[in-house]
């Protein structure tokens, strides 16, 4: 099957390459409904549904559903990159750089630095101890009920906020790119992700993410080559021209030559993104430590056979994600140079036509015409699908594996029933995602991704680290301490400017910083530590006594569960 998939991927790329060539001389008017984009996206959907069909025939056991029967570290690294690089970062970071210059790179670096932490602290132990979900590891030596319940609840919270942000983003994006109504877009995204996960499980999800990662990296690379060709393949020239463009824009707005020059130069250094150091560090810590607590990312480690491949997965994921963010940086500056004075892309006031996130889309049109714009639009849509499919699978696993099979059935669930529960959950989640997408259509959802990271950093991350590395951690400490971290992160976010002022409309935020992580992550760790120390229950003795055996297995991989290969 793998060869067929590679062939299909190659076909898609060839189709794209010839299309881009033809489009260089293409028409410039943009239809209200973008048929090129819709057809290209239909091609992507066709390929992925065909893969899902092939995967469905091989998804018979719960292990197939949760792990997809095993892939290599390289494939998993690409899938992780596909899971992690959201449309929000592709469109958002490039547009941020288009507007303010350098600041977008600070954001991008924050998303990358979490990966070494995952690698150094959790990856190999996670792979050695777990089977399907990170809760397998967090609850390894503890009483299953409390720790699994905490993990599942935490997973649902993290996934929900991440998912709402993706669904609302998808609806708005598709409205802009494809000229389709918001509701259609939400239903298409929700429906497709349901089909992928329902029938193809992890196998289909992995391949959707791999294909999307390849499309995204190839598309962005092509755009970067277009930008660099425009400036004679010199970064210095790219930056100099971008500064000249911003200086001219500032001069045209009526500034004195000296002020205009200063404003132009400002894009080369950090601007308003980082205001106070506490907010900056706090936000940075949420991104850095949150990655190591994201359930849909952690779940991907169980698709590879051993710790060795798990480490390779991260190295490849880091390579592709780092490369992707380097590309977005060039694309943002390329957009400044290539689209700033074109009335087709930017209105008289200097704002992007079609909404604030459209910089890279206009750049795609400027470089490769309508067909390439269609391709990049299809990539953006595919990106959203790949991300939401991973989220849905992880939430469905939390319900079926952690809650149903482990807590309700106490580990004695009939596998066929567990599989059925995970599929029913997938359908319910798909419907819930569509409803949430509609409910939150008009709301400000920008804070939800960073909230998801803060929750993961304050709940899941401390529980995982303490259960893996501290022999004194007990059931009570992990379950309640994790919950305290989670609630602290959530409470502080509600009291912070993004919700207290922007959503509730109060005049003054009680918690003045933009991210809670700097306080809520230590709260989680300290709570686990103190509650475990005070825990004198008989269970606490069993928990502590179980550490030696857990440690040995986590270090050596003895008794590791490999994804079933058929």
């Amino acid at each position: 099957m793998m060869r067929a998939v590679q062939a299909a991927g190659l076909l898609a790329l060839l189709g794209w390459a010839s299309g881009a060539g033809a489009a260089m001389s293409g028409a410039v008017t943009r239809a209200p409904t973008n048929w090129t984009a819709i057809l290209m996206f239909a091609g992507f959907v066709g390929i992925t549904l065909w893969i899902t069909g092939a995967a469905a025939r091989r998804t018979r056991t719960v292990s197939d559903f949760y792990t997809g029967g095993g892939i290599t570290g390289f494939q998993n690294g690409l899938a992780m990159a596909g899971d992690y690089c959201s449309a929000a970062s592709f469109l958002g970071i490039t547009s941020q750089i288009f507007n303010d210059g350098y600041d977008g790179l600070i954001y991008a670096i924050g998303f990358l630095v979490g990966w070494p932490i995952v690698l150094f602290l959790v990856a190999e132990k996670l792979r050695n101890l777990g089977r399907f979900t990170f809760a397998d590891v967090a609850s390894y030596r503890f009483m299953q009920g409390p720790v699994r319940t905490f993990s599942a609840v935490s997973t649902l919270f993290v996934v929900s906020f991440y998912l709402i942000a993706q669904m609302v983003g998808a609806g708005q994006l598709i409205q802009l790119l494809f000229g389709l109504p918001y509701l259609y877009a939400i239903v298409v995204v929700g429906g497709l992700m349901m089909v992928y996960v329902l029938f193809g499980g992890m196998r289909a999800t992995s391949w959707v993410q791999i294909i999307k990662a390849v499309m995204l990296l190839c598309g962005a690379t092509f755009l970067v080559l277009g930008v660099m060709a425009h400036v004679g393949f010199s970064f210095e020239a790219l930056f100099a021209q971008a500064v000249a463009v911003k200086t001219r824009l500032a001069a045209e707005s009526g500034l004195s030559p000296a002020d205009a020059a200063a404003k132009g130069r400002a894009i080369m250094g950090p601007g308003g993104f980082i205001k106070d150091p506490i907010s900056a560090l706090s936000f940075g810590f949420a991104l850095m430590l949150g990655t190591a607590g994201l359930p849909h990312i952690l779940m991907r480690f169980f698709t590879v056979p051993d710790a060795r491949e798990a480490r390779k997965s991260i190295l490849w994921a880091t390579v592709w994600i780092g490369y992707f963010y380097a590309l977005t940086f060039v694309l943002g500056f390329g957009a400044i140079v290539m689209i700033s004075f074109n009335p087709e892309y930017v209105d008289a006031g200097g704002a992007l036509i079609g909404g604030g996130n459209m910089a890279v889309m206009h750049l795609a049109h400027a470089i490769g015409g309508n067909l390439f714009l269609g391709f990049i639009s299809a990539v953006a849509f595919a990106t959203i699908l790949a991300v939401v499919a991973g989220l849905t699978l992880s939430a469905a696993s939390a319900i079926s594996h952690d809650i149903y099979a482990s807590v309700i059935r106490k580990g004695n669930a009939d596998p066929a029933k567990e599989l059925r529960v995970s599929r029913v959950t997938t359908v319910l989640l798909g419907i819930a995602a569509i409803i949430l997408g509609i409910v939150f259509q008009k709301q400000n959802v920008a804070f939800m991704v960073s909230l998801a990271f803060a929750l993961a950093a304050s709940g899941n991350f401390p529980v995982l680290v303490m259960s893996l590395l501290w022999s004194g951690c007990t059931t009570r400490g992990a379950a309640w301490g994790g919950a305290i971290g989670l609630v602290t992160a959530f409470g502080l976010t509600v009291l912070s400017p993004v919700i207290w002022v922007a959503v509730f409309g109060f005049g003054h935020a009680i918690f003045p910083y933009s991210s809670p992580a700097l306080f809520s992550v230590p709260a989680g760790f300290v709570a686990i530590w103190v509650i475990s120390l005070l825990d004198r229950s008989p269970r606490a003795a069993i928990d502590k006594a179980g550490y030696a055996a857990q440690r040995l297995r986590s270090e050596t991989g003895l008794g590791v569960h490999t994804p079933a290969a058929h």
Binding site: V113, F120, P270, F329
Partner: protein, 106 residues
Amino acid sequence: MPPDHDRALEARIAADPRYIALVRDRQHFSWVLTAITVIVYSSFISLIAFDKPLMARPIAGGTTSIAVVAGVAMLIGTVAICAIYVRRANGSYDARLAELLASARS
């Protein structure tokens, strides 16, 4: 419990000085790299928060600024530190582990 649960084997490994040394070395290495990651990233953010004009200063009389070089170095350094860990963990640490497991099983 997983099927191949072998208490005697596990006890043999746990008591093996080579196992104890391996776990100590690997743990030490991963904590050192974690500390480097956290310190370098926090310094990068703090530098931006406390001294923006320094970061905006151009290098070598051109347009490219210190901030751009530092940012790109952060991206490359992040990949590099992962590569350093994976190289050693999949290389010498895994070789020591394989040798240890082989002799414990014989």
